[in-house]
Symmetry: C2
């Protein structure tokens, strides 16, 4: 699996891509990349900012949003909404490996899952649409074990 936390591969890939694209190595964006590399699932901009609060220097929320916007534009992160109206972000792996999300209707907990049959079905149906599909998101909703 390559969707583990502490993913040094993605971290290096992201930093390399940023440099290749001509971005300077500022502190804020670098820390956001590091925070995302540490995450094993999606995080909100606020959660990322809060995590960086503990470090020696503070990172402004605006810089977090700006960094995420750049990373999203470069395809390095994936932006998603699980239904609560706040955007979440997670590292996007170059190989295309990815997962989807399950949200608990009661407590709001977000978990992840991956399923080949699902990917297969999406790949197949995408071919018959008149849109040229290059991305997809699946969000399941229900009750988590604790709330059932």
């Amino acid at each position: 699996m390559s969707t583990h936390a502490h993913d040094p591969g993605w971290r290096a890939h992201a930093h390399a891509t940023l440099e290749r694209e001509g971005f300077r190595a500022g502190a804020a964006r670098g820390r956001v990349v590091d925070a995302l590399a540490r995450q094993d699932c999606c995080a909100t901009a606020q959660e990322i900012a809060d995590e960086l609060r503990g470090d020696d220097a503070r990172v402004g929320i605006a810089s977090v949003y700006r960094a995420l916007e750049v990373l999203d534009r470069l395809g390095l992160v994936h932006r998603l909404d699980v239904g609560d109206g706040t955007a979440r972000y997670e590292a996007a792996h170059p190989g295309g490996e990815h997962h989807h999300h399950v949200v608990c209707n009661q407590c709001g907990r977000v978990a992840q899952f991956a399923d080949d049959g699902l990917e297969q079905a999406i790949a197949t149906l995408s071919q018959r649409l008149d849109f040229a599909i290059d991305q997809h998101d699946v969000v399941l909703r229900g009750s988590c074990p604790n709330c059932r």
Copy 2:
């Protein structure tokens, strides 16, 4: 198909459910139900309010949100986000028939599609998760015919 615009079945069902649940027949909520029955795909609160602007009386945006909140709680509408951060709503048919959405990355156009293989895959994978799944959303992203 029962996902056609001008769905009198859903409209009647919604009005009946509201009455059965003890809600009074106010003008604003009634008009929101009517507007949703006319929609063939998801609409934002603002779009619904704008559509009702043309009528003889005006409907406040707050009333639209309040009506949508009630309808969502009663399971009469489905709330979804296609990625732009604004909530969209569409009639939820009691039989469970539903569709999913494709969004154009360039122009933002939202279209709908339905696929049995996809539903099948989701039903199957849902059984092996530790969450009790009762709802799902799929959003595909790509380029629409006009933007390709």
